[in-house]
Amino acid sequence: MEFLNFLNQEPWRFILSFGVVLFLTLNLAAILVMGERKVAGYIQLRYGPNRVGPRGLLQPLADIIKLFTKENISPGKADLWIFLGAPIAMFIPVAAVWLVIPFAPGAVVADLNVAILFFVAVTSVGALGVIMAGYGSRSNFSLLGALRGAAQMISYEVPLILSLLGVVMLTGSLSLVDVVNAQGGGFWNWYFIVQFPMFIVFYISSLAETKRVPFDLPEGESEIVGGYMIEYSGMTWALIQAAEFAGMGLMAGITTTLFLGGWQPPLPFLDFGQFNWIWFGIKTALIMFTFQWIRWSLPRLRMDQLMDLGWKVLVPLTLVWLVITAGAMLVF
């Protein structure tokens, strides 16, 4: 591997990492769409897509080709700049956060010392994209969906942020590399055990942040049809979808990093060194599967119930748990 060492120099490292992150984001979107349909099919006693390629595995490719050659229709009354800016605003956060996630020991593109803050800050920009999409389309359904989406995303951001505090307190650092290193030595050291309520809160909040069932009200097709995505078609729609699915993968990755030990192997003797990204991949895939499993099992909540859950259950729970954790750290 020595001959590859030039990749460790600028600008090659930059190009490489850009490629890795972009590849991850886009491929995650494609693979997740595929996986979503397969899981849906299997849960519903069907096969899912199985015509394109062996067992339908080339379906994402066909989808991409189809979406590329579809006409982009924008409503005549729409605010075109905002309408087209929305996919971009939605896409940045989901791609950028991958920069700070460690995939393997030392393998992180940018080890920020405020990585957790960076994650919550960049994620919060997604709400802006939702509002832009809803406003730009100039449709009643869009705007209703955007209001719902923005209200939901900002409401669940509070428990999301608060649930991270326990991890930060235990680690004493905002760097995700430190967080992962602190969880080494076997699965009993992973934070999801000592921080179990926060793990659940974070999981629920990330479902809500990515607008997945049972919190998919912004695009609830049985009442507001498609929500803020209603007027999008072709590639613009594909980008929004890709952003949503990549966001789901991102949330799974962050959950893994924060609560499930990142690339740490479950038992010490399973350490593969540089190849520990396999553990990261397995854990992330498992979390993503639970997202999809929930998606195809549960109905969605109503907006008022969603808000009640966020503000009246999760936020008080996180605050109480914050005090408990702080107290426990004092005592022990």
Partner: protein
Amino acid sequence: MPGPIQTVAETLNSQIPLEGFLIVAAVMFAIGAWGAVIRRNAVVVFMCVEIMINAVNLTLVAFADFLPDAGGIGASYAALIIAIAAAEVAVGLAIVLAIFRSRRTVNIDEVNSMRG
């Protein structure tokens, strides 16, 4: 061997003097003040006020970074200002909305003329 990006980064801060940041902040403040004076829409006036606050924040952080003894204090002041600005937005916009609800307008001129 540091790569080009590394090199670029290392020389990043040293090349811009404090005055550069201060002038940018001053221009930002001026634009914000201009907008706050001339715009009729109360919400836009709010935005301009936010820009002015940001300009002040920028000055504080610039001083904190450049002056030897101001280290963390400037950043803490900036954090306090951010919190105050957030509270200001919350209350101020609530007032604007209340006015809008009773007067059906966010035009500051009209709100003035309809006083009493």
